[in-house]
């Protein structure tokens, strides 16, 4: 049971990590677009 809980927690954190990475990419892209606009 403790192993299962660990696996579950790992899955959850990994999913969150993935989402954060996507968000970071999106934000970085938007940031670059804005930068280009300013230039």
């Amino acid at each position: 049971p403790p192993t299962n809980a660990l696996v579950e927690e790992l899955n959850r954190v990994s999913a969150e990590n993935k989402k954060l990475s996507e968000m970071l990419t999106l934000m970085y892209n938007n940031y670059n677009i804005l930068k280009k606009q300013l230039v």
């Binding site: 403790p2 192993t3 660990l6 696996v7 927690e9 790992l10 959850r12 954190v13 990994s14 999913a15 969150e16 990590n17 989402k19 954060l20 990475s21 968000m23 970071l24 999106l26 934000m27 970085y28 938007n30 940031y31 804005l34 930068k35 606009q37 300013l38």
Partner: protein
Amino acid sequence: MDCSSFLDLNTNPFPEMLPKKEASVSASTHFKRKWLEQDESASELREELNRVNSENKKLNEMLATVHENYCALRHQLEKLQSRQSPEISQTEQPIKKRKQDPDEFLGFPIGLSSGKTENSSSNDDQQQQYEQKNQLISCKRPVTDSFNKAKVSTVYVPTDTSDTSLTVKDGYQWRKYGQKVTRDNPSPRAYFRCSFAPSCPVKKKVQRSAEDPSLLVATYEGTHNHLGPNASECDATSQGGSSTVTLDLVHGSHRLALEKNERNTMQDVLVQQMASSLTKDSKFTAALAAAISGRLMEQSRT
């Protein structure tokens, strides 16, 4: 179960004849090994979890930094825009207010950008929201693009093959701002802007047709936002074949106004013709005079 094996009573004088005990020993080692393996995998999992958690933390920090920079840049851009065109910024204020929330603008799920952890049960819902918002953002751009998209119309104008000026006389005044040679056509393409630019957004591209060099192909982008040219000034109308060119260029309200003017002049001419023909008709004048006098007589009686 054989209780003797647990109590180790040594009831059997021939221990070598005991295969069961060996089996029990091997089973316990097997369990031990299994437990150790589980422990190892658990520690590995814990390590992995720690690693992912630290990565998560780092990502959150990076996100916060980029978010901050983005907001600063956006603020700067807004300031610049408001300085450049105060009128436009005034009209667009409600739209900007709607976009105030950067999370919303970027299509982020609520609570994530601020580093808050989310409930795993609502992951799917938030993922859907996230995707929907992203779709909305991607949809927003084409809408504005199509709204601002200029009307494009192409006009073919006959011209002298020896004429290399690439001028299409359509009544409007144009300023040439460029010329380039394209791959598909040996003759150059000239670029013009309406003389009312930048208030008028209309642009024109003129190039000799590759198929028929006696034709000039003029491509117009946008609609004139000022009054059209006078008919007398319009050289294109004097050229028989190119009168349709000007008709193509007249859009919306200008076209309607012209049609209305034409209708009014036609009505005036018809009324004048009718009046002149009726006054020439002696019978009509006599009938009219009789009717008027009859009316007058009736009025005097009453």
